[in-house]
Assembly symmetry: C2
Homo-oligomer: 217 residues x 2
Amino acid sequence: MDTPALASQPCPDDILAQSAALMSSQGYHGTSMRDLARTTGRSLSGLYHHFANKEELLYLINERGFSPLLANAERLRGEYRSGNGRPVAAGPASAALLCDLIGSHLGYFGSHLNEMRVLMFGTQPMSSAHGQAIRQLKERYTEIFNFAVGQYIEARREAATATEIERKTYLLFGMMNWIFGWYSLDEHGPVEALAEEIYTTFTKGCLALRPAAARDE
Amino acid sequence: MDTPALASQPCPDDILAQSAALMSSQGYHGTSMRDLARTTGRSLSGLYHHFANKEELLYLINERGFSPLLANAERLRGEYRSGNGRPVAAGPASAALLCDLIGSHLGYFGSHLNEMRVLMFGTQPMSSAHGQAIRQLKERYTEIFNFAVGQYIEARREAATATEIERKTYLLFGMMNWIFGWYSLDEHGPVEALAEEIYTTFTKGCLALRPAAARDE
DNA sequence: TTCGATACCGAACGAACGTTCGGCCTGTCA
DNA sequence: TGACAGGCCGAACGTTCGTTCGGTATCGAA
């Protein structure tokens, strides 16, 4: 009898990678199990040895694609906090944290473009349990960036409100994530240079105070 | 005999709006003609009175959703150029152009969220002719922003290379377009305030010079 | 040498898909 | 009053979908 992959044996990486490639260009619903069987060089039924159903495959792509990125971000925040009995000035440290986070994000993006594209299509096609799990990973990740942006601003000008920090964090994510639609190594150079440009643009830009008349809350 | 809508009679707006709403949350392939018939309160076959096939419906959503936005941007650029026998200083004028473009973009985004989401899913499911048409609209639109960003920078610091301007334009689009994933009127206030924040962040950020060591080209 | 688990397959299932067809109303205009 | 076109159906077409089932080849442990 087949064991229908209750997360028992790990799903082979080549299946996940090739599925991500297909889904990133055609979408989840636009990619059929027969497409996947053909490109992975397996039979249709053979695929079901590695995951219970198509939806779980989507979950695995999301989970395995995103976890290393989150782990790295959590490590960076941990280093920032442990070096923070504050003999070191908070200013340079918060700049370094933000810079490292951006570099980590874009570096991973550049080498996992397909998985990141799938990730951005959203959790909507997933079962509530799987969708919830992925959404939690994303929230934890967002929270780290939110923290870093808050620390950066706090060390340099009058404190921003929580929702202002949140908005600015989303602007930063916008600059970083939008590259999925236009970036190519040949035309735009290595991601490291791009990361630096985004870091510079964001940090120079986010410190501006809004005119008092337009202040929110 | 039915005339299968060779762009003859215009497709009713309610069909386009409700189709965009459905497709924006489930994707093109994830939305069936039966879904559309149910939500528009029509029969399955009755839908085909207004467009030749599902793919043309996608094209119509894209075309009708994007055209007003492009027209507005072209008008703004026209006004900028006509006011440019340069008695007026180029600096303030280029700032106003950029500010207006951002305001136009976000204003339209805010009131056509579903159509814009569909637009961002890409032209891939469309036939080559339709896809090509939409891609051209997008290119003309991008080119206008590219022009505005170039003018803005040129009036304020040493000239940037074409690819640097292009990259910065994409960063701006990233900040603006990414809002589709997080923005809600209740939590984040009116789009006008957001437009101003993006304008400020971008203009303050984009003038920074990259350290010579990292200069490209 | 037998055993059981692992990795895989061909063939088929029922359901859902996009699309088509013939016909039915309800106006308008001659 | 009759002809006709536009807007819309119900029912069905052939195809493709995700998934299942019974079976086979391989291989390390007993």
